[in-house]
Amino acid sequence: MERPKIGVFSLTGCGGDQLMILNLEDVLLDLLSYFDIKDFQEISSFKEDSDLDIAFVEGSVSTKQDLRKLKEIRARCKMLIAIGNCAISGGIQAMKNGQMEILERMKRVYGIEEDIYGVLEPKGLSAYVKVDLEIPGCPIEKEETLRAITSILHGDMPDQFDYPVCVECKLKEYPCVLIEKNLPCLGPIIVAGCGARCPGLGLPCIGCRGPIKEEANAAAELEVLLSKGYDEEHIVNLMRIFCANFGEIKKITEIIRRRSGKGRQE
């Protein structure tokens, strides 16, 4: 059988998701031997401009150049897999989306008015192109990624986590940090798959795997955290670290902006 041709690409991000694939050290050679690698920057400078069976893309679309690159990749591949939170929903660089104009952000960070990078408001890949599969995480979990790739090699679409961190937290019998310690845990609205790593260490979930799309009840989470005495702006900022482009959280931001009358659109 001909080996599937793959490419692993980066848009705007830290490169951590590519590194997590490389972190599969024990099985890496076996895994990669299934594929004909045409582009994988973190491994090699070798690149071949050919059609691809699968493209793995990490990073957000944050510049016009990212967008051009993404459209080229989409045109080359049969299956596009977004890896990591940036590629799914824009990542932490999206946290000010809808709150501050992108050029204003550029000015604050780089101190220049000119748009030298061709910046776009950071978004995930699916805002622009069809995405066939999303593997969440910041960074992605290597075991989950391995299982997803193995499933695809086997001819199945991978089983995806469609339930919150709470499920894994309970299955691991961890005491609930929200109930026991009143910590602002986002576990109830965030996609599982991390094995409830943070609650297991007594820490609240900060949402790095992103919300369960079209399902997470962010408004109820807001109410829960308000009842614990947290300030609403603090809660919304917390949710926005990793989930600012998520519809429900955008809505909440808007409600709170109006309620506080602070006009947070700076």
């Binding site: 099985v27 076996d30 895994l31 391995l146 299982r147 193995t150 499933s151 090699l153 086997h154 199945d156 089983d159 469609d162 339930y163 919150p164 709470c166 499920v167 309970k170 299955l171 019998e173 961890y174 005491p175 609930c176 929200l178 109930i179 026991e180 310690k181 845990c185 576990g187 109830p188 609205i189 369960i212 399902e215 997470a216 009840n217 408004a219 109820a220 989470e221 109410e223 829960v224 009842s227």
Partner: protein
């Protein structure tokens, strides 16, 4: 029923001797007010005055997440994975959880017995212990505050030891093997046992009126109450996972990197999760949280051969991150 007395000075020896029946699991403190059943080797690792564990003892019989068989697609073979030593002693199980296991026995053992469950169930020793209700316990209303069977031994604390009820053949065997540790019960002990039971019943504060519950639930099908609670509900599945009577599970296959061998895993599922109602072809028969929430309450309020699917342990209320109070919901449904 045989009644015996276990003097306090023999308690430690009794505990140690139970080790011959397998590893001992007892209630261990896991957080400021949370407990879990964990393996213990000494009495003092346990807190026998615990209120409830996060995860109920059903985990000993249906694994939280367990491999049930391994397969090899090329050879078209599979090999069942059964625990090497399923023997275990569950020490300090409460009456409500014993009732819940009796319910699970009906599900898993009658008709087509689940061999994984059966193997573990018949190799487990259950040592019950008396408890004192907190503000979330309503087992008295559910008729599960006292276990008359479903255990091997049941310990009721009295001033100088335990009043012991022997509930099974295995219980009799344990007692026979440890003859020297037990005394016959005297009239004083019987009086003290009776007094303590009466006192315990008076401690219950929470009550739930079960009269007509099934009709009330059915009549409330289109009630606004479900919408109100679905708005609060995070849909996180905690209520199912901590419930001692919930028994839905999910089965998933994982393939190894050789793309030939793999394993089939079953893990606890929850009807509050979106995928629970998803079937082939993409149809979801409970697409909204309103439907899932209503379904859960209807399931809990339904009867299985006369047994309710709730034992009043209070876990779903205590561990709900959204603070949804199970008893309060049912009271509203009944118009109380």
């Amino acid at each position: 029923m045989m009644y015996l007395k276990l003097p306090r000075e023999d308690f430690d020896a009794f505990f140690k001797n139970l080790q011959e029946y397998g590893k001992i699991y007892g209630p261990v403190k896991a957080g400021s007010s949370a407990y879990n059943f964990k393996e213990v080797t000494t009495l003092d690792e346990m807190d026998l005055s615990y209120n409830r564990t996060i995860v109920p003892p059903k985990k000993f019989f249906v694994g939280l997440k367990e491999k049930i068989f391994e397969f090899d697609e090329k050879r078209a073979e599979f090999r069942e994975v059964i625990e090497d030593d399923p023997r275990k002693v569950i020490f300090g199980i409460h009456s409500c959880d014993i009732h819940a296991l009796k319910l699970l026995d009906k599900i898993y053992l009658e008709d087509m017995a689940d061999k994984y469950y059966l193997e573990r169930r018949r190799n487990a020793i259950l040592i019950g212990i008396d408890c004192h209700p907190d503000e979330h316990c309503f087992c008295k209303s559910m008729g599960t505050s006292y276990a008359t069977d479903g255990f091997d031994l049941f310990l009721h604390e009295i001033s100088d030891g335990f009043f012991v009820r022997v509930g099974s053949m295995k219980g009799h065997e344990i007692v026979a093997k440890n003859k020297g540790l037990f005394d016959p019960v005297g009239s004083e002990d019987i009086e003290e046992f009776k007094r303590s039971q009466k006192k315990r019943l008076d401690e219950f504060k929470l009550e739930l009126n079960l009269s007509g519950l099934q009709d009330m639930l059915e009549l409330a099908h289109n009630s606004q109450i479900w919408d109100e609670y679905a708005e609060k509900c995070l849909g996180c599945g905690t209520c199912n996972l901590v419930c001692p009577t919930c028994r839905c599970y999910d089965v998933i296959d994982f393939v190894n990197l050789d793309i030939t061998t793999g394993e089939r895993v079953r893990r606890w599922d929850s009807c509050m999760l979106r995928r629970h109602g998803l079937v082939a072809g993409g149809l979801n028969f409970r697409p909204t949280r309103v439907e899932r929430l209503r379904n859960r309450f209807n399931c809990k309020g339904s009867l299985l051969e006369g047994m309710l699917n709730c034992v009043g342990c209070g876990r779903c209320t205590v561990y709900c991150p959204a603070g949804i109070d199970y008893v309060e919901v049912l009271r509203k449904i009944a118009g109380d």
